[in-house]
């Protein structure tokens, strides 16, 4: 076992910051996933990571310096790197051909070889197919089953999970282009657009809604129907409510990660009747208008 200070290339008196810097510098060069073709990278990286496990922890370093721990005590457990999966037979779901696709467009012998190889590939994983799908706001909250019509006339059934957010990509494994030979089919990657609903605004797991109420409902209170993404519910408006008063409908928001639901917040907006209302005008003119001045608090 090598001395961890030698592995990281630092002095035994190095500060914690120096040790971290030395580790980062080496790890960036040696990380197996950044060196997928270098078989020795993993061993070297493990050595560096093991040294940092020991020296990057103040307590362990102290014990090592005191001779209580030997360098082997810092070895890491067996670890599978991403490259082990990304280079597996049959391709992998994140692989991207954009790094060499232009090679196949050339007329030279290499390009022809590459094209022939691509065509003749015996066990090639099918390519991923990208689609987009638009759903209603309410469907994004409750979830839905949608049928996507494909360019070739086929269809794809898509299950929208409850609580989906705008722009989310759904991966349907095996629903992409077919593979060749023993190659597995690619995946369908569906980017979902949530059509905005002018009534609702989503803030995280909560939903905001503005509810118009009449003057009499504001003054006297009353029971009103309030739309939610899962259907209308009845809510009590307390007497003396005002524009801006916000009420909470518990559990009527989007599904919450880890269980439960967010809430719907209903902001009241007092709306007068459209057009002149002589009766209201007469009533208000008799009302003691000086009793209340909403600008007394200095708002204007």
């Amino acid at each position: 076992m090598k001395n961890p200070y030698e592995v990281l290339g630092v002095a035994a008196t190095a500060s914690a910051a120096d040790i971290q810097n030395a580790y980062r510098k080496l790890a960036k060069k040696l990380h197996p996933d950044l060196n997928p073709g270098d078989k020795t990278a993993e061993e070297k990286f493990k050595e560096v990571a093991g040294a940092y496990d020991l020296l990057g922890d103040a307590e362990k370093r102290k014990r090592f310096d005191a001779g209580e721990l030997d360098p082997s005590g810092a070895e890491r457990q067996q670890h599978h790197y991403y490259r082990d999966f990304a280079t597996a037979d049959g391709g992998h779901p994140y692989a991207d051909a954009s790094g060499y696709a232009d090679f196949m467009d050339s007329d030279d012998a290499f390009a022809e070889l590459l094209r022939r190889s691509e065509r003749a590939r015996a066990n090639r994983r099918g390519s991923d197919l990208h689609y987009s799908l638009a759903i209603d706001f309410a469907e994004s909250i409750t979830g839905a089953n949608k049928r996507l019509t494909l360019p070739d006339g086929g269809t794809l059934d898509v299950s929208i999970p409850p609580g989906l957010v705008d722009g989310q990509i759904l991966r349907l494994r095996g629903k992409g282009a077919p593979g060749t030979g023993k190659g597995v089919p690619g995946d369908a990657l569906i980017q979902v657009e949530v059509r905005p609903d002018p009534r609702f605004t989503r803030l995280g797991d909560d939903i905001m809604f503005e509810l118009p109420i009449s003057l009499s409902e504001a003054v006297l209170g009353g029971r009103v129907r309030v739309p939610t993404p899962t259907g209308a519910v009845t809510m009590t408006v307390p007497d003396g409510s005002n524009t801006g008063t916000t009420m909470r409908l518990k559990g009527k928001g989007a599904p919450r990660h880890g269980g439960g639901h967010g809430d719907e917040f209903v902001k009241l907006k007092v709306v007068l009747p459209k057009g002149p209302d002589p009766e209201l005008k007469e009533f208000v003119s008799k009302w003691n208008r000086k009793a209340f001045n909403p600008r007394e608090d200095g708002t204007s």
Binding site: Y23, R24, A27, K28, H31, D33, L34, P36, G37, H79, H80, Y81, Y82, R83, D84, F85, A86, T87, A88, G91, H92, P93, Y94, A95, D96, A97, S98, G99, Y100, L113, L114, R116, S117, E118, A120, R121, A122, R124, N145, S159, P161, V165, G167, Q168, I169, L170, R171, L172, R173, D187, L189, H257, G258
Partner: protein, 93 residues
Amino acid sequence: MIMNKQQFLTNAGLQVQTLELWLEYHWLIPDQTSTEMTFSDGDVARAHLIRDLKSNFGVNDEGVDVILHLVDQLHGLRHAFQQLHSDMQEPSR
């Protein structure tokens, strides 16, 4: 191994908020069944790579985006060359 969200969080050592963010960035794209999202061992390994980049190498989110894109291209390229190599060894096929 196919795992559900909770198993994935445990295996990848991630908080649920972190996962939600990584899904939003499209760094991870799990399978979607009718009831839940499912993850593979490859997704766990990819999460470890992202965590290494962010926590150990000091790479910011924009940098992770670029690195993952390049890593994905690199693996696509390696596949193409692997195939080319194997085809060249079997010229009669």
